[in-house]
Amino acid sequence: MTQENGRQGDKNVVGSFKVKAGLAQMLKGGVIMDVVTPEQAVIAEEAGAVAVMALERVPADIRVQGGVARMSDPGMIKEIIDAVSIPVMAKARIGHFVEAQILEAIGVDYVDESEVLTPADEVYHINKHDFKVPFVCGCRNLGEALRRVGEGAAMIRTKGEAGTGDVVEAVRHARTVLGDIRRLQLMPDEELMTFAKNIGAPYELVKQTKELGRLPVVNFAAGGIATPADAALMMQIGVDGVFVGSGIFKSGNPASRAKAIVEATTHFKNAEILARVSENLGEPMVGINVSSLPEEEHLAVRGW
């Protein structure tokens, strides 16, 4: 290629909040899928996933097997990175900044500081501003979302209840966050400081959220999404995209279910398309009714 046209640019700046939050912008309207092997990662990419979450055990198995759930083997994550061209995310334990350092070092594109793993710190989350790799964090309400953004999270996901296949908590958390924002928008400015105090969120981010009428970062739904209809439900409620964890590879026909959920997330308002893609998908994951789950087995309460 000739060099005579096009003038040259300035010096590159890496790791800014803009580029961290920018990747999440590019994932919007998409589906991020949990995968435990490179083969599953390829199936997810083939089905149209915008990213994969590399982990050793999906949340449904973590529930069954119990024990301490930690960051996955970096070797296994690297194999998944090599297997696909789409972004690869991986989970670190809440507060475990060394797991996050390791994930950054192997070239993971997004770190999920996740309640699905056993927390490493019961008081503090990771200072995510320290990293060049962006973070996604879970939340159940606006206060929790803005605390995480205050710590440097560049993407938020409502938690739902991972590994259950029951969408009820995902709905509850998304409605709570979005409802909190709608209330905030109606609030006169003199009430914002007290509101910020009451929800335990940084004042500046509360103000910004009111001005934007949405979270300052991209917000996906997670935790219990198992069908195309579940994904479209979350999109219609108002999230920017969905995470599907156990819902795909714990179902009867992962490839066609994955593809159907991708299509449902794009065409979330088109009931004819939703009906067509929901046909003949085989068995969904078995699922656990969240209301029958003992309090101590709820993962969503992890996070401070």
């Binding site: 046209n5 096009g6 700046v13 580029v19 990175i81 972004p87």
Partner: protein, 195 residues
């Protein structure tokens, strides 16, 4: 002027907001019939594999190619990949523009960057444009009818135009600078007059 933004997946809302703030009518395009009566189209950033697969599944490939044959199309990041003739990987491409593109050309997300870029042809082109590169592609080759509009300091080509087609490796929809959208709107206006 009515401009569509391909809304299969990705950062389409940002493009729509920018176009509307500049006075254009902007609509989301998900199905072939959504292309009717549009004067131009933007293919946004997102995951090019996802956008390509959904375009195939929903019968958009040929309608998009016929649209591009007559009217202006601008691809940003994933959109640039989708418009390319060749990328060296097996994924659905429109192949309308004579460019060769390399995906993820700068590395992984930790290598994503911002840079002030000089771009030929935009308004006040002596003032740099704040460009955001996210797991960005680069132009390896531009056909003889095409023209490179911007390069990084190392000479890497990151924006080009060929007739009614425009491509950028970066995301003008993430910058608070409407000059590239204005540039595209001028292309759309000129094409309307020509037709």
């Amino acid at each position: 002027m009515k401009i569509g933004v391909l809304a299969l997946q990705g950062a389409f809302i940002e493009h729509i907001k920018m176009l509307r703030s500049l006075g254009a009518a902007a609509v989301e395009v998900r199905l072939p019939q959504d292309l009717d009566d549009l004067d131009g189209l933007i293919i946004p950033g997102g995951e090019s594999t996802t956008i390509g697969k959904l375009a195939v599944q929903y019968g958009l490939m040929e309608p998009l190619r016929s649209f591009a044959a007559e009217r202006p199309v601008w691809g940003t990041c994933a959109g640039m990949i989708f418009m390319a003739r060749e990328i060296g990987l097996d994924q659905p491409l429109l192949g309308v523009m004579d460019i060769v593109v390399e995906r993820n050309a700068f590395g992984r997300q930790i290598d994503s960057f911002e840079v002030d870029l000089m771009i030929d042809g935009i308004a006040e082109s002596d003032r740099p444009f704040p460009a955001v590169f996210i797991r960005a592609p680069r132009l390896i080759a531009v056909g003889r009818h095409g023209q490179v509009l911007a390069r990084l300091a190392d000479g890497t080509a990151v924006a080009a135009r060929e007739g009614q087609w425009l491509v950028t490796s970066f995301h003008p929809e993430l910058s608070d600078d409407g000059r590239l959208h204005q540039y595209f709107m001028h292309m759309v206006e000129a094409q309307k007059v020509a037709v």
